[in-house]
């Protein structure tokens, strides 16, 4: 049997777009059901307080209000918000959906109002009177560890959530024989994911059928269904979850939220359809945050630049309670801390700490951007200390291509790579040598060009179930209709990534059809088999492989049917142009639809074959995949104002085999720009009272079109041996690879001022202060205005 590759690898435009560009798609808030009621939440204005009393009388009697509920009203109705992560000796920090005695972060829901329309619901929420007794908030994660700090969870003696350690190789010996030890404390700041569509939930309960349908803007419809059933204490078959059009997630919708279970509960309790749509302020306060790690990196190096060992201590601010994966995220940083370098000895110590803030959890990259940032910054510090070129220091420590699969001292097996090739390609594309010459020339003129490198590796295609909290496989069903049209049902839950198109490309090639013959269906637990969802750059590598394998099962069956009808060996048949034909004699053929019809009419099947044409596969990956790449950022810093001008950005990524290059470019662009946000603009700031100062888009800048230059992208292709498609995943590459390249470029630009590190976001006032301090210390060069005449800048 042969399959022609006609669509895999081509930049097909997307099948999902016509509905999206015409306003015909349906996101959760677009749904309206008869008698639908609206939910509004009363949220804590305090970071840490005891609830003395809640008076709901005025709200309850307001016109149009159906119900007002507090935590006490729900006491027996539901369980706690689930956390799937388990670490040794981890303390529990589980949260009731509505606060009961105490509140632990600003934005924690304490009561809810149900009313006939959204304006009335919001008005009535303001009539709920809550009396609080404020307690001392714990905001700074380092101070949270201090003796005598107020304790968030009083059943414990301190705020340490867990300690996690990992050691591989002889770390003591590595540091003992080092010529130098490079040390740096680095902060990977707290971020807010900001999916453009805020969260939203609609729920409807039909008592006759005993069916609770929940539409939620989620990345994990099946896991959400299981957890709603568990929290509400109803059989899972009662719950039906639909993720309709989802307006971005970036990990923030890879969760089970209080609002989701509460709205589901209300539909059952009150017998009316319910809707809740998050405001942007709520989204900032009560949807998970990302990153928030403070690391101290130490590298033991030989004078020639060889890295002998690495020690890393990480303090991870987890916020007040766990969400689904909160404690787990920093451990991914630990596992990936060696980056793409052959470091024989490593020790990582992580302390997770509770503070009076929203929980951190998986935000695009989830633990790996932190690891990449820490190691890539550290590699630049090594280069600076040894006065060597950052590209050469990196190259010196890469494993050779023939060493793959490569075992890291953190216990991972990197599947395949050629780090030299991607670095060479990035250096060539950026014209690195010329850039260095230009930098030297400009410095003599008092202008400060910075060139930043990042060579990254990420852990993707999550993942083997043995290493995942709750299953890492993915499912697919291929159902061919009697007319010959094909449904591909995937357990992955795409929300912008474009698998309705890329999976159709895979199916078209395997069955010899056109993409228009195929419909990819996802996000509905009543329609598609149990799946895990879309996150961790897994949908194509794991979900796509499930699709591929289910397709081969269908194709094998069809070949047997066609072979029987044509009286030919099925192995000699080819699927192409909507036909099944003999390779040696294409005239001997059967239309694809005819063979399919035979499967349903069931009169000409081979003896003993079951009728119908449908196959399901649950793909269990044997390993993660490890995409990689090399990025080069070029900036100019204006020494008078501290402004950073991003002049060029070159990215060479290797995500294995590419199904649709247009989609891959889109993922890379988006990821790099989110990185740029972290590097230069974004920071979730809580003040000393635990108030979220960056509580709206007014105070939290995400990149706009004019913050970004044209990105220059290219690829190398190193197929993954982990799956038959050879794909690695690309959803997070940009967010993982780009941040250190950008900061390395800024630090490189500031080298003449003696700057060796600065923490993100690298805003101009911070840079200006560094330059000013250097100048006041004397003997530093004066500068001319940079980038005169350019109006693009990073604010």
């Amino acid at each position: 049997m042969a399959t022609a590759t006609r669509y895999i690898g081509r930049p097909l435009k997307r099948k999902e777009d016509p509905r999206l560009i015409q306003g015909l798609a349906h996101y959760v808030d677009d749904l309206r059901l008869p008698e639908m009621h609206y939910v509004a939440f009363v949220r804590s204005p305090h970071a840490h307080a005891r609830i003395r009393s809640i008076d709901t009388t005025r709200a309850q009697t307001a016109p149009g209000v159906l119900a007002v509920l507090t935590g006490q009203d729900l006491d027996k109705a539901m369980g706690v918000i689930p956390c799937a992560a388990q670490l040794p000796e981890m303390k529990l920090a589980l949260r009731p959906p509505l606060a009961k005695e105490r509140v632990l972060f600003v934005g924690e829901p304490v009561a809810l109002v149900v009313a006939a329309d959204r304006y009335t619901a919001r008005d009535a929420a303001e009539l709920v009177e809550v009396e609080y007794e404020p307690l001392t908030p714990v905001v700074d994660p380092e101070k949270a560890l201090a003796k005598g700090a107020p304790v968030l969870h009083p059943q414990y003696s301190d705020n340490v959530a867990y300690r996690w350690e990992l050691e591989g190789g002889d770390v003591k010996a590595a540091f003992a024989k080092a010529d130098k030890v490079i040390r740096q404390r680095m902060v990977n700041q707290r971020l807010i994911p900001v999916a453009m569509e805020p969260r939203a939930v609609v729920a409807d309960y039909q008592p006759g059928e005993n069916q609770l349908t929940v539409w939620s803007s989620t990345q994990i419809p099946h896991l959400l269904r299981t957890q709603i059933a568990a929290v509400l204490g109803v059989p899972e078959y009662v719950v039906h979850v639909i993720a309709p059009e989802v307006g971005g997630g970036f990990g923030s919708k890879l969760n089970v939220y209080a609002e989701e279970v509460l709205v589901a509960h209300l539909a059952m309790r009150l017998g009316k359809p319910m809707k809740w749509t998050e405001s942007r302020r709520e989204n900032f306060q009560a949807t998970i945050h990302g990153r928030d790690q403070i690391a101290t990196m130490e590298l033991a190096v030989r004078r020639d630049g060889t890295i002998l060992g690495l020690r890393c201590r990480i303090l991870a601010d987890l916020g007040a309670y766990y969400q689904l994966l909160t404690p787990l995220i920093p451990t991914l940083t630990g596992l990936m801390i060696c980056g793409c370098y052959k470091i024989p000895a490593v020790r990582v110590e992580i302390t997770g700490v509770f503070t009076n803030k929203m929980a951190t959890d998986a935000y695009r990259g989830a633990g790996r951007p932190e690891a990449t940032y820490f190691i890539e910054r550290a590699m630049d510090l090594v280069a600076a200390e040894l006065k060597k070129d950052p590209a050469e220091i990196r190259r010196k420590n890469f494993p050779q291509p023939k060493e793959f699969p490569y075992a890291t001292p953190t216990g991972l097996i990197y599947d395949s790579a050629n780090y030299q090739k991607s670095l060479d390609a990035a250096l060539k594309k950026s014209n690195y040598r010329k850039l260095r010459a230009q930098q030297a020339k400009l410095r003599r003129q008092g202008r400060y060009l910075g060139i930043g490198l990042s060579t990254y590796v990420e852990i993707c295609a999550m993942g083997p179930s043995s290493a995942m909290p709750a299953g890492g496989w993915e499912s697919a069903t291929v159902r061919v209709e009697p007319t010959g049209k094909v449904n591909v049902l995937t357990g992955a839950s795409p929300h912008g990534q474009g698998q309705e198109t890329s999976f159709a490309q895979i199916a078209a090639d395997l069955l010899g059809l056109e993409p228009d013959d195929i419909r990819v269906v996802h996000g509905d637990t009543a329609v598609v088999p149990y799946g895990i969802g879309t996150f961790g750059s897994r949908a194509t590598a794991v979900g796509g492989t499930a699709v591929y394998t289910a397709l081969t099962k269908v194709r094998d069956k069809l070949a047997a049917i066609a072979g029987h009808i044509l009286q030919e060996d099925p192995k000699r048949l080819v699927f192409r142009d909507r036909k099944i034909f003999l390779k040696s004699n294409p005239a001997k053929s059967l239309a694809f639809a005819e063979a399919v019809s035979a499967a349903y009419v069931a009169k000409t099947l081979p003896p003993g074959m079951e009728p119908g044409l449908e196959a399901t596969h649950f793909f269990e990956p044997s390993n993660f995949t490890f995409p990689f790449g090399a990025h080069v950022a070029v900036v100019e810093v204006d020494a008078e104002t501290g402004e950073v001008h991003l002049l060029r950005y070159v990215a060479v990524d290797d995500c294995g085999r590419v199904i649709n290059p247009l989609l891959v470019d889109g993922q890379v662009h988006g990821g790099i720009v989110q990185s740029l946000g972290q590097a230069f603009l974004e920071e979730a700031v809580y003040d000393e009272n635990g108030q979220l100062l960056t509580g709206e888009l007014t105070d939290y800048a995400i990149p706009r079109a004019w913050d970004v230059p044209r990105l220059e992208t290219a690829r190398t292709v190193t197929p993954s041996p982990v799956n038959p498609l050879g794909v690695k995943g690309v959803g997070e590459a940009g967010t993982i690879g780009a941040t250190p390249a950008l900061i390395n470029a800024v630090v490189d630009a500031l080298a003449p001022f003696g700057v060796r590190h600065l923490d993100m976001p690298a805003r101009r006032e911070r840079i200006w202060q560094l330059i000013r301090r250097a100048r006041q210390a004397g003997s530093r060069p004066t500068a001319r205005r940079a980038g005169a005449g350019r109006d693009r800048r990073v604010r």
């Binding site: 560009i21 304006y119 805020p198 912008g496 989609l663 662009h669 989110q674 990105l711």
Partner: protein, 162 residues
């Protein structure tokens, strides 16, 4: 206590009695059922709710329905009719051709902001496109394919005029 307003939306005259505080975006979505216009921030910062009001791109989340009384409005649902060829508007085509969208949530607003730009400046430079779209946030695409989409539309519209 309601106020009667009359608005021409996508070529159809609509008349309703509305609460004076009703936001125009809620009028479009909840009263007229035109849910293609999205809400991303309620503070006019993200641009997801952008519509054309008397030919100008405005953010309908910080406009009251009563302020739109007497106006001529085009939403994403009515844009194709403006293209004049019975199919998609060239800007819509550009977004499809150049992969100018991923999750699609910012897309209707982004498209309408681009339509306004091309009406005022039929041959914008890349820098001008990036400036014109500064009021519309996208978290997925990194904007590059959006710029490509607008350039595609500009070329297509110029060719159509010749």
């Amino acid at each position: 206590m309601g106020v009667v307003i009359q608005v021409r939306v996508n070529g159809k005259t609509r008349q309703h009695e509305v609460e004076p505080r009703l936001l125009f975006v809620h009028y479009l979505r909840d009263v007229l059922g035109l849910t293609g216009t999205h809400i991303g921030c309620e503070t006019s910062l993200c641009g997801a709710c952008t519509v054309l009001l008397n030919g100008k791109a405005v953010k309908s989340c910080t406009l009251l329905a009563v302020q739109a009384d007497g106006a001529e409005v085009v939403t994403i649902e009515g844009l194709a009719a403006l293209g004049g060829n019975g199919g998609l508007h060239p800007v819509q085509e550009g977004f499809w051709e150049k992969h100018g969208l991923q999750c699609g949530y910012c897309t209707p607003g982004m498209i309408l902001a681009a339509v306004e730009l091309l009406q005022a400046n039929p041959k914008p430079k890349e820098e001008e496109i990036r400036r014109a779209l500064a009021g519309n946030l996208c978290r997925c695409t990194g904007y590059q394919h959006i710029v490509d989409a607008v350039q595609f539309a500009a070329k297509k519209m110029a060719a159509g005029k010749r």
